[in-house]
Symmetry: C2
DNA sequence: ATAGAAAGCTTGTTTAAACAAGTTTGGCAA
DNA sequence: TTGCCAAACTTGTTTAAACAAGCTTTCTAT
């Protein structure tokens, strides 16, 4: 499905790196070599390589070559990374899931809610609380606010399936960018009621604003994760 | 001191967005307009714009324009993001800091340590435990493993100042890429001893491998954060 | 008046070329 | 043999051009 040339080269190289055809610490073929292999220009190769560098797969070295620094991650954990729905994450980890809606109501954004969520004061919103189960265990309390104007006609049925699927495929609104904060917070009464926290008295909390492809925020979300199944991945590139 | 043209354009535009000269939800000037303003080619402009999109400042819209989606973040929190030393983060937040070394010893990587840290078995390492204080409060327990071959002659004095400064400026080794995991873990005996955890019984833990510009891993690090001062920032772009 | 085509914007992809700058190799001269 | 320099690699930056594709405006034909 990649329509752009650099995308298919990116995916091809990514796959070869993950299969360790290009192994950890190896040098990649030179850009000129890859140009011949893929029958494209050097710029197109460089675009694919730079995206692989940005996800921490490659380390380019000026004058020397490009080194593979990808190492396989142990797939035992439920990993979060990128913008991914709960169901997508679960599927990637071969786990079964279901979702229970605790609360779904309409409201208008007060000044306090507007400040917290980033929506304009007075916006019509949906507030949605859901519990996410993985293999029968309640792991995540999701609290979402959706802009009714962009995500209309939200129902319990939709909320228990996949909202992202509804948004992208039924409403035809592409999801683009998400800016998130991660913190660790004390468990609330609601957390204790719905999640089997055991002896943990805090949770991993991911808070974020989600924008569509037009740069309009349509969602404010807070995911409250039971610590024992939470892992967030990230690659950082140091800028000079 | 950006030496490349696209870097200085990037920084200039970033600054203007942060100053809200280009405000939230505004459209940026078109690429053709910006080429006139900055006197450069469209490619160079596009490079600057795409880096601003990758940090969640801009949302490009095919055929329509580029929308500003940056909103200022409340600067009250101690934010983590990118590869940044503790001192750099503290300085950015106008806070005073000091560091106490708990433990500094040499060791050779056993099989277990090699698997955990990603260093080859038998590597000579430094193991370093430090407490980081912010305005007098013990907030972070840092546990580091350094490859002696690349980070030689580590002393308590260096460890209490800035190791990144030592590595980059004294040893002249550029730090490039860091792959990290974030989890929430039960407090250990060591955490309880050194950090004033109050009634928290867990911590935010950032675990990571750090690579130099040659793609060689020189550090394995674990930062154990007291929850109340921990906040991690991230921008995710959804890929189709 | 309205539908629809066309023109003129916008961003997205790809190529080609030239040059800059860092590293390695190989050969030449002392 | 040793030291040094030049040649031949490598990646990094910039320009120019052409075309694709999405969106908006304008004009035209019905």
């Amino acid at each position: 499905m990649p329509k752009a040339k650099y995308e298919s080269i990116y995916h091809d190289l990514k796959h070869k790196i993950e299969q360790e055809e290009y192994a950890y610490q190896d040098l990649m073929p030179s850009e000129n070599r890859l140009t011949e292999v893929y029958g494209c220009s050097r710029n197109t190769i460089r675009r694919a390589l730079s995206e692989l560098a940005s996800i921490g797969y490659l380390q380019p070295m000026h004058g020397k070559g490009v080194r593979v620094i990808y190492t396989p991650v142990p797939q035992s954990e439920f990993l979060i990374g990128g913008i991914e729905s709960f169901k997508e994450s679960a599927a990637r980890n071969h786990l079964t899931t279901h979702t229970k809606v605790i609360r779904l109501e309409e409201l208008s954004a007060t000044r306090v809610i507007a400040k917290k969520t980033g929506f304009p004061e007075g916006s019509l919103l949906y507030e949605l609380h859901r519990i996410r189960y993985l293999d029968g265990q309640p792991l995540i309390l999701d609290i979402n606010f959706f802009l009714q104007e962009l995500v209309p006609n939200l129902t319990v049925t939709i909320a228990e399936k996949s909202i992202y699927d509804y948004i992208e495929n039924e409403l035809g609104m592409p999801i683009a960018t998400s800016r998130r904060h991660m913190t660790v917070e004390h468990a609330t009464r609601e957390d204790e009621t719905y999640l089997a926290l055991g002896d943990y008295n805090c949770l991993a909390v991911i808070t974020g604003r989600v924008f569509n492809a037009d740069g309009i925020q349509f969602e404010y979300t807070q995911s409250r994760h039971r610590p024992d199944f939470f892992c967030f991945q990230d690659t950082a590139i140091r800028t000079k």
